[in-house]
């Protein structure tokens, strides 16, 4: 019978190659797949292109991956925040390519990749410097820009509960980019806080049907921190 759960973070990340395009879910610290980000650093793939909402904070998670020199390019909406010291240093040193994408366009480009839509038009960025060089076109008297789908080789996703078929539900604001990134990669790897038997999740409430998921690793939550800025490293451990 089908069981997509693998035994370790290392097994989950097996085969990710240098030069891969990697999506990483989460918004702020909520829904960030910390354990598999850590695992990706150990796994060793280099020259990665990252797609994520931001460019990491402090020295853990995304920032640690950047700091390890594994990322050559990042596509995100919000690279710079108070804690984005690693990104700043690498970017200033010219060691990191950056593509800034408005958050809604980023989300829609990811969704389009998962939905077999190669390109779409959006009003966002019209009349701004981010529309420079983009194809403009009028529909019903309003001007839009063309945006292309943003697919990935690998998506790293955190879910709250998954079953062995890969069905996933998220928790509260942890759904964010995770649910759409799960649809947009050739290989979707889920870090699940909880595992359950297929048939126990409510079919009406499953957010990510299993067909989008290839591998699941169970990473139970150790403690729920109330400080969202605290190190994620203390929060999760691979099961």
């Amino acid at each position: 019978m089908i069981n997509k759960q693998v035994r370790s973070v290392a097994d989950a990340l097996e085969g990710i190659r240098d030069g891969s395009v990697v999506m990483i879910g989460g918004f702020g610290s909520v829904g960030q797949p910390d354990a598999i980000i850590e695992g990706l650093i150990e796994q060793g793939a280099r020259n990665l292109t990252l797609i994520a909402n931001n460019a990491g904070s402090g020295h853990v998670g995304l920032a640690k991956l950047l700091n390890a020199g594994r990322v050559s390019r990042i596509i995100c909406s919000y690279p710079r925040s108070s804690g984005s010291v690693v990104f700043e240093a690498l970017f200033q040193a010219g060691k990191l390519d950056l593509e800034i994408v408005p958050q809604g366009t980023l989300a829609e480009r990811i969704r389009a990749a998962g939905a077999g839509i190669p390109a779409f038009y959006t009003p966002t960025t019209v009349g701004t410097i981010l529309a420079k060089g983009k194809e403009h076109r009028e529909f019903n008297g309003r001007t839009y820009v063309l945006e292309e789908a943003l697919p990935a080789d690998v998506a790293l996703v955190e879910a709250w509960t998954a079953d062995q078929f890969g069905n996933c539900v998220y928790r509260e604001s942890g759904r964010n980019f995770n649910a759409i990134m799960a649809t947009a990669a050739k290989l979707t790897i889920v870090q699940a806080c909880n595992m359950t038997e297929a048939g126990t999740l409510d079919p009406e409430a499953i957010v990510t049907p299993g067909l989008f998921v290839q591998r699941i690793v169970h990473v139970p939550e150790r403690t729920l921190l109330t400080d969202s800025s605290a190190s994620a490293e203390t929060r999760k451990q691979a099961a």
Partner: protein
């Protein structure tokens, strides 16, 4: 001419002033900064549904420190609470709501607003190669109404309400009203039209702090 004697509104007072103008039943997104404070200022007598880019509709004010839910943050990464009737969704659905025109109102902070309704609130220089745009551009073009909440001038006293924005635009021609610590100003047909000022401030005094010509409603309370 004696100098005006007035007290600018505190950020909390600005939030309260804005909250008064939000109508029962509206769906509203609050940007980072002063707009965020509106969440804590909404009256219980109205059902106002707050939307957050990261997939929440119907969140409430900040929790008390003993009851923080770490999975429940708004777009500013601050902890929030949930109100009855709230729902969760993913980022593409969240921005479908924004871009699709389903929000009655979005309140944004701003570096500058022009009398044409242009807003600049994401990047302080065209030379900055790594500005953080987040959801600002989507919100600015998507919401049915865009209001700005900002100090009337910079800390250095330079006007933020101007004839033409000098910072890179977030979106052109979208702002319909501005709430500052000194006044409430509508943007109408390329003009700033003052509807409300803090007491003690004169039209001339406000004009001096503003980078474009002000028009005044007949019944403006000065």
């Amino acid at each position: 001419m004696s100098p005006d004697s007035f007290t600018p509104l505190s950020r909390r007072a600005m939030a309260k002033r804005i909250a008064e103008d939000i109508q029962d039943g509206w769906y509203v997104n609050l940007g980072i900064g002063i707009p965020t404070l509106v969440a804590d200022a909404l009256p219980d007598s109205k059902d106002i549904f707050l939307h957050s880019e990261n997939g929440i509709l119907g969140f409430g004010p900040a929790p008390d420190p003993d009851h923080v839910d770490p999975w429940l943050i708004n777009a500013g990464k601050q902890h929030v609470t949930l109100r009855p009737g709230a729902s969760f969704f993913h980022h593409a659905d969240s921005f479908a709501m924004i871009r699709g025109g389903h929000l009655d109102l979005c309140i944004l902070g701003a570096f500058e607003v022009s009398s044409d309704g242009d807003i600049a609130n994401w990047s302080t220089s065209a030379q900055d190669m790594a500005p953080a745009v987040g959801g600002a551009m989507d919100l600015a073009v998507g919401a049915k109404r865009v209001w700005v909440a900002t100090e009337h001038t910079t800390r250095e006293g330079a006007p933020k309400l101007v004839e033409q924005c000098h910072y890179p635009l977030t979106a052109p021609g979208v702002v319909s009203r501005i709430y500052t610590n000194l006044a409430v100003i509508d943007v109408e047909n390329g003009h700033f039209v003052v509807r409300d000022m803090v007491s003690g401030l004169t039209p001339e005094g406000l004009q001096k702090l503003t980078g474009a010509k002000l028009y005044f409603r007949e019944n403006v309370n000065a």
